[in-house]
């Protein structure tokens, strides 16, 4: 699915019930085009992560529809959805989510292990991904022994290892200092430019968003124009 296109129409999502019900997304329509880099911008709590999770098939919307390359997601089987997430998507999260007592290499090859790739091939591909991120010398180290920037590079290696068509990154630089954050950004945009990997980056950082081809602004679960996004809710 190299020309994979994600298309959300009027998606809504709420958390909780009754009194404590909270509408995190109130009807958002948007597209992710193949090969582009897209920023989902907004303040904390505006529903950015929720939208990204829906686009990445990690969560189902309460209302509205999602189409992947023209196919309605509801027509896909669980196995198809798992395969898409496993083969076509890569994930980068703000909190890294590395398994602390596993080695860096073991962390990186997790998607391949899940896909059922054999030991030798996944080691080779894992090492290649680590080499691309200049982390191959840390392959056998515990994930906990890495610095923040190294951790995020390991996470990117993990997102990259299955050669995905889309990388979803939720606040990829949120936990990094400016310099390290800049390096991580460069890596992501290089992947987008050199390998044609589509980027969906959730961020509240205007500068990072500005480097993307396109921006979507969210406020209180709705898409708004860039000018309104900045204004107080």
């Amino acid at each position: 699915m190299s020309d994979l296109v994600l298309e959300a129409t009027d998606v809504a999502k709420s958390y909780g019930r009754g009194e404590s019900r909270f509408d995190a997304l109130k009807g958002v329509s948007m597209q992710v085009r193949a090969g582009e880099s897209l920023a989902i911008l907004g303040k904390s709590g505006s529903g950015k992560s929720t939208l990204m999770h829906i686009l990445a098939l990690l969560d189902a919307p309460d209302a509205g529809s999602l189409r992947i390359s023209g196919h309605d997601v509801t027509s896909l089987s669980t196995a198809d959805i798992h395969r898409l997430r496993n083969r076509d998507f890569g994930f980068v999260f703000q909190q890294f989510f590395l398994v602390p007592d596993a080695t860096v290499l073991e962390n990186v090859i997790m998607p391949l292990k899940i896909a059922g790739v054999g030991v030798r091939e996944r080691t080779e591909r894992g090492m290649a991904a680590l080499r691309a991120l200049e982390l191959d010398d840390k392959a056998r180290n515990r994930a906990t022994a890495l610095s923040g920037g190294q951790k995020q590079r390991a996470v990117i290696a993990r997102a990259l290892v299955n050669e995905p068509t889309v990388i979803f990154a939720d606040e990829p630089t949120g936990n990094l200092d400016t310099v390290t954050g800049g390096i991580v950004e460069d890596i992501l945009f290089d992947l987008n430019r050199d390998k044609g990997i589509t980027l969906v980056i959730v961020t509240h950082d205007e500068e990072l968003a500005a480097r993307c081809d396109r921006q979507i602004h969210l406020r209180d679960g709705l898409e708004v124009s860039p000018e309104l996004a900045g204004a107080a809710a």
């Binding site: 798992h82 898409l84 997430r85 989510f97 899940i114």
Partner: protein, 430 residues
């Protein structure tokens, strides 16, 4: 995820929290250790009993004795009755003694009981002592060999129906009679002393044909027909007229393939006819009952340990699922199916079960193999041939299988909890 990787990851995860895993493994270890050992003891004892039953009392023999008519005294000792008393006559008393025995008419009545195919009276031969040249004289209770029992021999062969006067002696006579060992006694002559009806002393020569092992049910010394004839002839010196032989017991043959129900029916018929019949298994029964009670208590203890271990596994894995919430969420986000997540955690439980049961069974086998020879030489020296523990690969495999099945069952609860986790909630989990 490949099954191989699921197993490998489960094994790896087991060792992540070593302390927790070890504590759970210890509980399983105790259960598996005890079960392995008790089952081995059970198997050892019953194979010993079977060999004893097979050796001395072909399963097709009932030892029949008369039931004292006014006997069943659950209410105190029997009242003295001068007409009935045997006057202290022992089984080696002369034929023709008072009551308590059986005559030919009794044997005929026994033979009429349905299911009994033959009756052989137990004939005790009138021997005062046995000696060899240079040894002391020893008492000897010698029976006429019936051929119904196959002796458990340390050396030589069972007495044969030949012209040579033969006897077989228990192992404890070997040294007493001055032989170097059981083998050295075979074919050697011994002298038997007989007192006749008028108080005259006679000596009869016989040859040792076999030496029997001591066992639970001692098969006493036996002589062949030629020896019996010689001894009885010596004893009857000076007797005029025929004496009516009286027997204290008889061996009744039944179909060796009889079921316990059939044997019970034959025994009931014997009781109706005024006799009681006992198989060798009955006679060993008391010993077996004690062993059974001990092993049952140990087994109950083992099962309790395993139940506790089951809860230990539930607890261990629930904590593990809790700790690894994010990892589970991450794996699910990366496309791992719920079924595989379930497999991962239940496999971890099975592996904990495997660890505990393998170590338990291994240590039990080692303990058994080290302790058994020591016990066999010490406590159970009287019972050669007793294999105190007998490890059967099948029962060890069954125990390990059952323990792993219990572990799996215990693991299903935490594994289901892990499998049901929603990737997003798991990733948002703080």
């Amino acid at each position: 995820m490949k099954t191989r990787d699921v197993i490998a990851s489960a094994v790896q995860n087991t060792f992540r929290s070593k302390l927790r895993t070890s504590l759970t493994v210890i509980a399983i270890f105790i259960g598996a250790f005890t079960l392995t050992l008790t089952s081995a003891i059970g198997a050892g004892i019953s194979s010993f009993i079977d060999s004893q039953v097979g050796a001395i009392g072909a399963p097709g023999v009932l030892t029949v004795t008369p039931v004292p008519e006014d006997a069943p005294a659950d209410d105190g000792p029997a009242v003295y009755d001068p007409d009935r008393a045997t006057g202290g006559a022992s089984i080696d008393g002369p034929p023709g003694m008072a009551g308590g025995g059986m005559n030919q008419a009794d044997l005929d009545r026994i033979a009429e009981v349905p299911g009994i195919t033959g009756v052989t009276p137990a004939v005790t031969l009138p021997v005062d002592f046995v000696e060899t040249a240079g040894s002391q004289r020893y008492e000897l209770t010698l029976d006429l060999a019936t051929g119904l029992f196959i002796p458990d021999l340390a050396a030589g062969a069972a007495v044969a129906d030949v012209d040579e006067r033969q006897l077989q002696l228990p192992a404890d006579y070997v040294e007493a009679l001055g032989f170097a060992d059981a083998q050295a006694a075979i074919g050697q002559p011994v002298t038997l002393g007989v007192t006749d009806a008028v108080g005259g002393h006679h000596e009869v020569e016989a040859v040792v044909a076999g030496i029997t092992n001591p066992g639970l049910m001692n098969l006493g010394p036996e002589g062949n027909q030629a020896l019996a004839d010689a001894l009885l002839a010596a004893q009857r010196t000076g007797v005029t007229g025929e004496a009516t032989p009286v027997y204290l017991a008889a061996d009744a043959s039944i179909d060796p393939a009889s079921t316990p129900e059939q044997i019970a029916a034959i025994k009931a018929d014997l009781v109706d006819a005024g006799f009681q019949g006992m198989t060798v298994a009955d006679q060993i029964g008391a010993f077996k009952t004690v062993i059974d009670v001990v092993t049952s208590i140990l087994n109950a203890f083992a099962v309790i340990a395993l139940l506790a271990a089951g809860f230990g596994i539930v607890n261990t894995l629930l904590m593990s699922v809790q700790e690894r919430t994010r990892e589970i969420g991450l794996m699910k986000a990366m496309g791992m199916r719920s079924g595989k997540v379930f497999g991962l955690f239940s496999m971890e439980a099975v592996f904990i079960g495997f660890l505990g049961s393998a170590i338990g069974a291994g240590v039990a086998i080692a303990t058994g193999l080290i302790a058994a020879p020591l016990l066999a030489e010490g406590l159970f020296a009287e019972l050669p041939g007793l294999e105190i523990v007998r490890f059967e690969p099948l029962s060890v495999a069954i125990i390990m299988g059952v323990v792993m099945a219990i572990a799996f069952l215990a693991g299903t609860l935490p594994a289901r909890r892990a499998a049901r986790q929603h990737p997003i909630e798991a990733l948002r989990y703080e």
